[in-house]
């Protein structure tokens, strides 16, 4: 618990917001969820996780909306494309897609469906954290996510 409070005291580079950020990571790979949690926690970011697409949608729409959703594209119960489409029916929350699919077609598809970023696996955590910080800065500036 001690380490958690130290971690949460860290602020995102260039951001003076007093409130901590909340990020939801939806991926059926539990190891990736654990790594993402550690990686984001050291940036002072509160992380929630879901191992299914339907669990992710429930978290987004039934509770306090997160500042950012990080979404795997290939999941057993529903594709990330479908989850994103459902999110965009009523929410402007920032979304980063995470996928092993690295074709131009897939990246364009994700961004055209309304994703704010598309990161291909495998990725470096340095880049992952920097992209998350950038999206969170932008989300707070533009007030996205309020429509949930």
């Amino acid at each position: 618990m001690q380490s958690c409070s130290i971690l949460s005291a860290v602020t995102i580079a260039g951001d003076n917001s007093a409130d901590s950020y909340r990020v939801l990571v939806v991926d059926d790979d539990e190891r990736l969820l654990a790594l993402a949690r550690l990686s984001l926690a050291k940036n002072g970011i509160e992380v929630e996780t879901a191992t299914t697409a339907s669990g992710g949608l429930e978290t987004i729409f039934d509770g306090a909306p997160p500042d950012l959703v990080i979404l795997d594209v290939v999941m057993p119960d529903m594709s990330g494309w479908e989850v994103l489409r459902r999110i965009r029916e009523s929410s402007g929350v920032a979304v980063m897609l995470l996928s092993g699919r690295d074709s131009d077609v897939d990246k364009a598809r994700g961004l055209d469906l309304g994703a704010d970023d598309y990161l291909t696996k495998p990725f470096s955590f340095l880049e992952f954290e920097a992209r998350v910080r950038a999206l969170l800065r932008r989300a707070r500036e533009t007030g996205d996510g309020q429509g949930v």
């Binding site: 489409r85 965009r88 074709s103 131009d104 077609v105 364009a108 598809r109 309304g114």
Partner: protein, 299 residues
Amino acid sequence: MSGGSTVAVIAERRHLENRVLREARSALEDAGCEVPLVVPDGDRMFDIPTEAPPWDAALSRGRDLAGLGILAAASALGVVAINTPQSIDLVRNKIAMQAVLLEHGLPLPKTWFAADAAIFRGVPRDRFPLVVKPFDGDGSRGLSLLTQPEDVDLLPSLQQAQPLYLAQEFLETDGWDLKLYGIGSQVWAVRKPSPVSFPEPGPAVMEHKKGSELIEIDAQLRDIALTCGRACGLELWGVDVAMTPDGPYVIEVNDFPTYSAIPDAGAEIARHALALVRIEALSRETGRSRMQSIVRKPS
């Protein structure tokens, strides 16, 4: 639009009076382009080109093999082909096309293929009814309905040296066909009364009906349209969609469709063709490797 370009139109004679093709040719000419017309009639003989024709781009419509040969040769010699011969080949091979679409997670009815249609007797009875179509069928021609394995006997035989049939699970719709049309990154949806009906097992009854209607495209159909076009590498395309109670299913992807009910489709095609010409010219000037991130085709 920028003038001074040469955009050849390769089209079968039967397409020359097509509204969209005429509009596209006029729009290109109005923009100051040269628009040579290549009509691959059966009574003409062509030389195999040994150097690139003096065209910046070639716009191709039709299924004629001589026309597709001219397009493929021009493309191989550096002319911008719209659509590319590779993408046309892909969507005309219904097996390859479906494999690509399935790989992208698009919704398609379960499909089998066989050289001898009698083999479809082996499809599990609970997967019937099936719609059987010839592998190289154009439009809705040659469709038959099988409601049970025994209906295989009702199929007309294909008059081909090496026939190939596709059998697809029958999808119940409301009697309307949905067509998605794409030009570059723009997409539209049009609803049409279906010309196909199956009053009984066996060959379909075809009756062309008027009444195409442009409708608003939602996010799901937009995603389907764009992903079909991009996955197949097409710049000008159409998608036949069956709207079922379980949602939309992709039935077919076509290159250079009719664009019926799409306002100013010809002008949009001309604009897109000239944009591709400009991108190609710029990428050649700048160096392909530096521009790859801007103009790279879908992989």
